[in-house]
Amino acid sequence: MRRLLCLLTLATGFAGLARAQTTPADQAGEKTKQEVLQFADQQNHAVTTADMETLKRIFADDLAYTNERGKILTKTERLAELGSGKRKVSHMNHDDIQVFTYGDTVVVTGRSRSNVAYEGSSSTAPRRFMCTYVKQNGHWQVVAQQETPVVEP
């Protein structure tokens, strides 16, 4: 009985150790994930406050952006829409966030119910979004972004 108890304790200990062990690659991935989530927060804040100077740094010059209406915009067009108030995001509401890290390239996906006023109408209808970030010369930038309306079954 005592032997069985010892064996059980040992097994539990090993299982705990295995769970606690993280490889350097895991740690690097986790660090990247936290960096990108923080960067995404800055991005969201800059969008809601229409902070053009920050957004200019956040978006890559060759940004590939497609909005929820299937319209493709260049960086200049995207900045113009946000700067002029043609597109106004008053409240960010994101959930189901997933982060896929591939070294200096990271894909973030999620569901947005943010309040967006665009071309005369305002909506909080759910949209799936994908945002791809690339780190170049030590700085993260948004290189691709797309939004898709969720069709309720």
Partner: protein
């Protein structure tokens, strides 16, 4: 005079080096563009033929995939749909294709799909779809790490 000539030679050499470097960068970008268009074509053919084995090699295991209905699918779910013919491609036609190259290993491709895609048992949706494919080169192989589609409303 000799000093002037030397300076001139130096300036020309530096300018030539910078020009060659820029040209090298353009050549790399052009090569990347060609590779990406090739693998995009391979993906289109695999979708058309329902070649799940090929698609498995094209997509990253953790691909972020979203249909035109805003439905997020895992790689397994997407491949199962193709294999079980729950999603059938009768044609794959892409227009307005643009390739955005970022550094050495990341590329975003955008385009307009007017492919004939059917979901048997469901009403066909004839609307064109804007798509983005994000590609990453790892261990010498391009893999699709994200695919998103958005229908374009009829105007």
């Amino acid at each position: 005079m000799r000093r002037m000539v030397l300076l001139g030679v130096l300036v020309a050499a530096v300018a030539g080096f910078a020009g060659a470097r820029a040209a090298g960068g353009d050549t790399n970008k052009e090569q990347t563009r060609k590779e990406i268009l090739q693998i995009e074509e391979e993906r289109s053919q695999a979708l058309l033929k329902g070649d799940v084995d090929k698609l498995k090699r094209i997509y990253a295991d953790q691909v972020a995939y979203c249909t035109e209905h805003g439905k997020v699918l895992t790689l397994e779910q997407h491949l199962a749909n193709i294999k079980e013919r729950k999603q059938v491609f009768n044609s794959v036609v892409h227009k307005d294709v643009k390739v955005h190259v970022f550094g050495n290993n990341t590329v975003a491709v955008t385009g307009l799909s007017v492919s004939d895609v059917r979901y048997p048992g469901q009403k066909a949706d004839p609307r064109p779809r804007r798509y983005t494919n994000v590609w990453l080169k790892q261990d010498g192989q391009w893999r699709c790490i994200a695919h998103y589609e958005t229908p374009v409303p009829e105007s």
